[in-house]
Structures are given as structure tokens and as C-alpha cells.
């Protein structure tokens, strides 16, 4: 990873008005209510996906991999 040391001041808190975004940053800030709406829809979108049952093949794969380990 290359991120180390490149942005020591970054604090990982939610976006505030884009003060420290520098040349690459978007030089604007969305209204909090707009951000909140987008955040809410994104979360709803994700929740619908994470609530889906997982395909069986993932567990089948893990079972196969473990069976191979046991045989070794």
C-alpha cells in the first residue's frame, strides 16, 4: 500500500466542507441534507444486498478447501 504518510492530517471523519482536499479535491461541499439523503439511499441499497441469501457455492467451496487440507 502506498497511502502511508501521504496524508497524515487526514482524520477519517465524515466529510466536512472540503477544506483540506487540495488540488485533487473537489472544491465544494454538498448541503448536509443532500449528503444525508444520498447516504440513506446508499445504505438502503446495501442493506437490500446484504440481506440476500448467499449462493450455496461459497460454502461448498470452503467445505471443499477444508476437506483438501484434512487430506494433506
Amino acid at each position: 500500500m502506498t497511502a502511508e504518510g501521504e496524508d497524515k492530517n487526514a482524520d477519517g471523519k465524515p466529510l466536512r466542507p472540503a477544506k483540506r482536499l487540495g488540488a485533487k479535491g473537489a472544491n465544494f461541499a454538498l448541503a448536509p441534507v443532500v449528503n444525508a439523503t444520498i447516504g440513506r439511499r446508499l445504505e438502503a441499497h446495501y442493506r437490500a444486498l446484504t440481506d440476500e441469501p448467499l449462493p450455496d457455492r461459497f460454502m461448498v467451496l470452503l467445505a471443499e478447501l477444508r476437506a483438501k487440507e484434512v487430506k494433506k
Binding site: 482536499l21 479535491g25 443532500v34 444520498i38 446508499l42 446495501y46 437490500a48 457455492r57 461459497f58
Partner: protein
């Protein structure tokens, strides 16, 4: 694919490691589907990630962030192998929208479909950053590690992604909240429904 290690000199993955992988599956799959916009491809991607994670389990430091480690494998696999052409999701209209039920009662199905189409229109880098930070629960620092870029770059991408979505969804200010481009009837039904 080709990166499986055939010989192992250390202990096989522990049950704890395996359980950790299983626990991350729903989040990982949601990320994969949202990133590539195609359920079949996303499931292949998750399968490939599980295989790689298992095969390289000895390189995972116990106690470090398994979620970040697995997401890194998945996104690297996606960006090096699966991504073929264009910067937008290939089939952003039919996609998973019709396969995935809307599980959030306060969001209309129309809004969710609209959101997925808009999400698919973002550049992959912007979409990735937004998903990691806004949905998968990573801090900006963790997202930067996963994507292999500077923290400031992640912040910038998230900010731009949100701004683009706001435009695509027609959300420009308080008066538009809850409407987007959907019909008046839907607006009325969902108007004033506790928007934070």
C-alpha cells in the same frame, strides 16, 4: 485463476479464519455486486476472492483487519482481471435491480432502482471509494489502504461521487429531498418521511 499456492509450509487456515471469512461474505458480496453491477460476475469475483484468501491465509496477520484484507483481494482481482472495457458498469439498466428485492420499507422501489442506475454511472474509482466508506464501514484510512491510494484521494473521490449522484438523482437542495425524478404520486407518499 492462477495464483493458488499449491504447497503450504505453515499450518492450514484455522477455523477462526474460516469463520471470519464466512462472516465477511455478505458485505463482500454486496460490495462486489455494487462495484461491477452484475450478480453473476460478482459471485465469480467473490468465489475467486475466497479461493485466494484461503490459499494465502498464511500471509494474513492474525488480529489485523480481515475485512480490509479480503476487500483488497477482491478489488485487486476486479481491477486486474474482471474489468474489461469502459468505465461504467456494462448492463446498468436491467442488472441486479430486478433481482434484488428492496428491503428498506422507507425507500420506494422506484428510488432504489433510480439509485442503482445512478451508482452504475459513476466512474469505477469513485464508486469504489463511495462504497468502501459509505456502505462497507471502512474509515477513510482503511479505504485508502484497500484501494492503494492516499487518504486525500479517497476523500476527494467520495466527495465527487456524492456530488455526481446528487446531480444524477436531481437532489440539489432541501426542497428536492425525497423526490429525485420520481413521480408526484410517489413523492407524496414518501414526502416528509423523517429525512435526517
Amino acid at each position: 485463476m492462477t495464483s493458488r499456492t499449491q504447497t503450504r509450509t505453515t499450518a492450514p487456515p484455522t477455523d477462526l479464519f474460516r469463520e471470519g471469512m464466512v462472516k465477511e461474505m455478505p458485505n463482500l458480496r454486496a460490495f462486489a455486486i455494487s462495484l461491477c453491477g452484475n450478480v453473476t460476475q460478482a459471485d465469480d469475483l467473490v468465489q475467486e476472492t475466497l479461493l485466494k484468501a484461503w490459499s494465502n491465509a498464511q500471509s494474513f496477520e492474525t488480529g489485523s483487519n480481515l475485512r480490509a484484507w479480503m476487500f483488497t483481494i477482491l478489488r485487486n482481482t476486479y481491477f486486474s482481471i474482471y474489468r474489461r472495457k469502459g468505465r461504467e458498469v456494462q448492463d446498468s439498466d436491467g442488472i441486479y435491480a430486478n433481482r434484488i428485492a428492496t428491503a428498506a420499507p422507507q425507500e420506494s422501489a422506484v428510488e432504489m432502482q433510480e439509485f442503482r442506475v445512478a451508482l452504475a454511472k459513476l466512474s469505477e474509482e469513485h464508486r469504489e471509494a463511495l462504497l468502501l466508506v459509505g456502505a462497507s464501514g471502512f474509515s477513510y484510512e482503511e479505504a485508502a489502504e484497500v484501494s492503494g491510494v492516499a487518504v486525500g484521494t479517497v476523500k476527494s473521490r467520495v466527495n465527487r461521487a456524492r456530488a455526481k449522484l446528487a446531480v444524477l438523482l436531481g437532489i440539489t437542495g432541501p426542497e428536492d429531498i425525497g423526490s429525485g425524478q420520481i413521480s408526484d404520486a410517489v413523492v407524496k407518499r414518501f414526502d416528509g418521511s423523517g429525512l435526517a
